[in-house]
């Protein structure tokens, strides 16, 4: 009966939306490195830790008032709550229970709750002994005023900051990556100190007229000398002692410079990866962004336009000089080859990217990037540049949604400029939204007021709009004249007044922005209203 109750409860937790939501919320708050909530929480905790430490220091020679004591209690309650919540997040008990229950059920064995409880307990103990959890626990302890000795644990409250400062974590990681060099250096340093302290004790013991009374003194002197600090409280008096000092100082200089160089190289090696990581983190925060592959002339133009639009984008280019340019302009960039799967994957092709633009000057690379991107994400929009007319088909085959031909477009622009300058500038002005007159598409939603209406009834003229045509895939319209095929649809230019609008048709209109917005609002509202009625 008890077992069934536990299993039932575990299933309940597994299916409970509220429980999952709560857990996700606390995960975002405490653990998820990409969540914005966590960064706010971290800042809040840093302030709290600093304040509480300040209070504890103040308490050393002052008496605290009631307010401060209350504050301290609040802080501690928060620390305890945080500690327990982290423990809760560390493992999913219901999952462990269900896993064992299902296994036992499948193998027709009896389910033993005791064993599962042990596993759960082991997991939680594992959490308690993780270094950061230990620090958390020790940071809570200084509250017990009875144990004055516990005050030293105050330091742990400062260590708690480790949790909230990303840069401290990074520094620790970088040092950890140079573990081998640091251990070697440590061994060498230990050896140096050992030899130095032994030698100085031999030369400088009081029997020889020196100041080194015991081995601890000699050890202290060796450390002070190796570190090139040299307080001078113990100084060698004998020639032998002075020679040892000279050797130790020179060796100390070597050790110090070696240490500095290890840390500097570690930073240099990691800095690229760190920067890239920070870019990936930033990209992760965006819901929609565009990947521009190739930061040549075309790529740069696109990036500038997108920057004007305040759209998020990232530039990928393997060439150093272009990446430097992107950096100077303050764009997000990845210094890598976009044809590699992991580069595109890390850039977020499946995680927020809406469009990939292949803008390199080499069609072969563009085809390859297009293929890679299409393979990684079958849904994504890919706009690719074709420098040679022959490659347009190949790019479409590789999966491009649109292909742009720079020289063809420019050629066309020249011809239009010469032939119809006014008309050409007009249409460009409309597309680029340079004037307040824009061209937009409006969708005929099912249930909206214009569905089933004919063109004459809509009254475009009164709405101060110009209807250029209608895009539709609906076969009903095919009897109308002036139809031009566009991919799988037809564009009906200058539709007749009796043209009846159907669900899914796209109206192509020209007009002032607010006139178009107003009409769109009307369509949307009528759709919602009619939808409610139904």
């Amino acid at each position: 009966m008890f077992t069934r109750l536990i299993v039932y409860f575990a299933y309940f937790l597994k299916t409970s939306k509220r429980y999952q939501r709560a857990k996700l919320f606390f995960y975002d708050l405490l653990e998820n490195p990409n969540s914005r909530l966590k960064s706010y929480f971290d800042v809040f905790m840093i302030c709290l830790v600093m304040l509480s430490v300040f209070l504890l220091i103040y308490e050393v020679d002052h008496k605290l008032d009631a307010g401060a004591v209350l504050f301290e209690h609040c802080v501690i309650s928060l620390f305890i709550a945080e500690y327990l919540l982290r423990g809760w997040l560390y493992s999913d008990n219901h999952k462990i229970i269900l896993e064992h229950y299902e296994k036992a059920d499948y193998l027709k064995l009896s389910f033993r709750p005791g064993k599962v409880a042990m596993i759960i307990l082991a997991k939680k103990i594992e959490y308690v002994f993780t270094p950061l959890a230990l620090i958390d626990l020790l940071a809570i302890l200084p509250t017990y005023r009875l144990l004055r000795v516990m005050r030293i644990l105050l330091l742990f409250r400062l260590f708690k900051l480790f949790r909230y400062f990303n840069s401290i974590k990074l520094f620790a990681n970088i040092l950890a990556s140079k573990r081998f060099e640091l251990i070697t250096l440590g061994i060498f340093l230990g050896f140096l100190v050992f030899v130095g302290s032994t030698a100085i004790y031999l030369f400088e013991n009081p029997a020889n007229g020196g100041q080194v009374k015991n081995l601890f003194d000699s050890f202290y002197w060796a450390i002070v000398t190796v570190a090139t600090v040299g307080y001078g409280d113990i100084s060698p008096q004998t020639t032998g002692g002075r020679i040892v000092a000279m050797v130790l100082i020179l060796a100390g200089l070597g050790v110090l410079s070696f240490l500095v160089s290890i840390i500097v190289t570690a930073f240099n090696e990691e800095i690229e990866a760190l920067r890239e990581n920070s870019i990936y983190t930033e990209l992760n925060r965006f819901d929609h962004f565009i990947i521009i592959c190739g930061f040549g002339r075309v790529g740069q133009h696109i990036a500038r336009q997108l920057e004007k639009d305040k759209q998020n984008f990232v530039v990928i280019d393997p060439r150093e000089s272009y990446i430097l340019k992107a950096k100077r302009l303050g764009f997000l960039f990845i210094h890598a080859d976009a044809s590699k799967n992991d580069v595109m994957h890390n850039a977020g092709i499946n995680n927020g990217a809406t469009t990939v633009i292949c803008a390199t000057g080499d069609d072969v690379i563009n085809v390859y990037i297009t293929l890679t991107s299409r393979h990684l994400n079958p849904e994504i929009r890919i706009i690719s540049r074709a420098n040679n007319q022959d490659n347009v088909k190949k790019l479409y085959q590789a999966g491009a949604s649109n292909v742009i031909q720079p020289f063809e477009i420019a050629g066309m622009a020249v011809a239009e400029y010469i032939g119809q300058p006014v008309a050409f500038e007009a249409i460009l002005g409309i597309i680029r939204e340079e004037s307040h007159i824009i061209m937009e598409t409006l969708c005929v939603h099912p249930g909206s007021l214009i569905e089933g209406m004919n063109i004459a009834e809509v009254g475009f003229e009164q709405r101060k709009l110009m209807l250029m045509g209608i895009v539709s895939a609906n076969p009903v319209h095919q009897k109308h004249k002036n139809s031009y095929p566009i991919k799988n649809q037809h564009f009906y230019f200058n539709p007749e007044p009796h043209f009846v609008l159907r669900d899914g048709d796209l109206l192509v209109v020209i007009g002032r922005e607010y006139a178009i917005d107003y009409f769109r609002d009307q369509i949307e509202k009528s759709r919602l209203k009619n939808g409610r009625k139904q």
Partner: protein, 230 residues
């Protein structure tokens, strides 16, 4: 008929030449050697081989006499600058359209006397951007107006004595009578800018005003004829 001289062989120059209506423009391609000349001649264009550094050679192809427009489509900016300077010195009224490789050269070309600078990379960048922000519109325009379909945009100037003089724009009813859409009007009384025909203002047409219309090529042609003849 306008005469255009095209200098420099590239995808772009071929595209521009193909787009221009042979009935309105007579095009001559200036090649640097015979191989280039025969390549372009195969596509049905007049060609001539000259050295563009020589002013007499430039005069021999008609610059300063019958050439109205010059396309400088050499891949290197300094060639284009040199050609622009030479041609401008020969003919002050020539329309010079030049392409630019390095954006910094644009100013030099303008200083040399070019009327219009085309930066293919910029145009391509803009185009990609348009495709990103307005995919539907770009798609429609690419497939119709800018594409190979016979839907075109055209500007029609009202000649003196035309029956359209003193007509109101709202009375034109181009969409009913001619299957054309009136995009806008350049009303010379109000300056040179285009006023879109979105029912905001009534314009009374006079000689010299320009109608910008969109529609099938044959309808545009028929309407043009009507405007000129009536």
């Amino acid at each position: 008929m306008k005469r255009i001289a095209v200098f420099g062989y590239s995808v772009m120059s071929l595209e521009a030449m193909n787009r221009l209506n042979p009935e309105q423009y007579s095009i001559i391609f200036i090649a640097k050697d015979d191989a280039e000349a025969s390549l372009v001649a195969e596509k049905g264009f007049d060609t001539k081989v000259i050295d563009f550094r020589n002013d007499d050679a430039l005069r021999s192809v008609g610059i300063g006499t019958d050439v109205d427009t010059l396309f400088c489509f050499y891949p290197r900016d300094f060639d284009n600058v040199f050609l622009t300077i030479s041609a401008r010195a020969i003919d002050k009224n020539l329309t010079i359209v030049a392409i630019v490789d390095d954006p910094e050269s644009a100013e030099k070309l303008l200083a040399a006397g070019a009327n219009k600078i085309i930066d293919p990379y910029e145009i391509c960048g803009r185009k990609t951007h348009e495709m990103l922000t307005k995919p539907d519109i770009t798609n429609i325009l690419d497939n119709t107006v800018f594409g190979r379909h016979d839907l075109n945009m055209a500007q029609i100037e009202i000649p003196k004595g035309s029956c359209l003089e003193n007509t109101r724009t709202s009375d034109l009813k181009l969409n009913e009578k001619h299957n054309l859409i009136l995009i806008g009007v350049v009303d010379r009384e109000l300056g040179d800018q285009l006023h879109f025909a979105i029912g905001e203002k009534e314009h009374c047409l006079n000689a010299g005003d320009v109608l910008v219309v969109m529609g099938p090529a044959r309808e545009i042609k028929a309407f043009k004829k009507e405007v000129e003849q009536c």
